[in-house]
Symmetry: C2
Subunit: 240 residues, 2 copies
């Protein structure tokens, strides 16, 4: 049986230019921070940008951006609130910030619901903050959204890169385009991640040094955009 | 309908003393490293220890310990191989190290299968390396295994602690005991995590400073046990 909502999703997405899924093999590599700052940087350049937090495991874009108490509006669908120049949507508007121990099937259902009710205005870019790894959301998203391209964040850690290999192997098998890999929180001068990325036949989009100041910039978009982290992300926007 | 395998799990677990689920609100906080080094430290003290990697999102204990090409044996169930003095079992023996994009329901099924076939010898401790956050594995485990106690790893980051709050609220609601919280990768002198932990009514088990040398010790258990990280974990074993 076909869920009637899935056919609506195409309609909802049709005014969107590029869709970038910011993903990672494992958590804790700075994925949400990257997705949030990428969205801000693209908006700063004058693009129309949406940011969609789909990280059911630990939604945090609303904390990073300090979105305040804005809420989506209902009008033949759900209209994302405008936050710091972005159209912002998050699963927290669906689940609340409560304990939400969703089962896999419920996650799939919530994702389909969210995608089918959210009405984006015209966008040049929609940045998706994905859950880490390969779970139900990633599998559904690949199935439901056309033209999604993945951008993968990793750290210099070999444990992180092992999981990146798995993720990119899956994306390769499914013929989903990968924009490239970003090495975050870099604290050494090793070229290992760069070399291993090329070995996978993928683009290396650059490295971002570990930035101790980023923690205090969380919740303050002006401060965020002044960090070394943001400067590095801005340089990468030309390749996205 | 009751899955017949779930009644076998009690039987399989009956020779186990304490079961410690090493968990975290989000990924990338050093959970797998902590679980592996905790198991090694307890074994070093002379305890009989099992380590069970249940992190379906990114299994890595086999890389941290460099378990080599040992395999579980079949004998009226599956017997975990002996690895560096530990009885070691991992979902990689079930899934292989292939791309395993398991749906939530498949994850549940694999977990039940693994728990019902694995025959642990007498153990003082079974350390579980859990997936981060609150997903199908966590929900199933709470349902299937009695006497499990959670130990939660976090970093100093407020984003990490936000997710810890969610996890502990769920565990509290379900009346699952929490041994305490460990603050890992500490790079400052803030007392915030310690204070927030106490505010939640939980024990603060200690802090572990960021240890740049840990990366090169991965895959070498002797080196691992010589790190500052391991010394700190050893101090915590008395409270577990």
């Amino acid at each position: 049986m076909v869920d009637p909502r899935t056919s609506i999703i195409d309609e909802r997405m049709k005014r969107i230019g590029k869709i970038v899924a910011v993903s990672s093999g494992k958590g804790g590599v700075g994925k949400s921070l990257f997705a949030s700052v990428l969205a801000l940087s693209l908006a700063k350049k004058g693009c129309k940008v949406g940011l969609f937090d789909l990280d059911f495991t630990s939604p945090s874009a609303h904390i990073i951006l300090d979105v305040g108490d804005v809420r989506p509006e209902e009008e033949k669908g759900i209209i994302p609130p405008q936050v710091h120049g972005l159209q912002f949507m998050s699963i927290i508007y669906y689940s609340g910030d409560h304990v939400t121990p969703l089962r896999g099937a419920d996650v799939s259902n919530s994702l389909i619901e969210l995608l089918s009710v959210t009405t984006w205005k015209k966008l040049d870019y929609l940045v998706l903050d994905m859950p880490p790894g390969i779970g139900d959301v990633t599998l559904d998203l690949i199935r439901l959204i056309k033209n999604v391209r993945f951008l993968i964040i990793t750290t210099s850690s070999q444990l992180a890169f092992q999981t990146v290999k798995k993720l990119t192997r899956l994306l390769g098998t499914l013929k989903i385009p990968v924009l490239g890999i970003v090495e975050n929180m870099k604290m050494n001068h090793s070229k290992a991640t760069r070399q291993q990325t090329r070995k996978l036949g993928l683009s290396f989009l650059g490295e971002i040094p570990y930035d101790a100041k980023i923690e205090e910039a969380i919740g303050n978009t002006n401060k965020l955009l002044e960090t070394t982290f943001a400067k590095k992300v801005e340089q990468m926007t030309t390749r996205i």
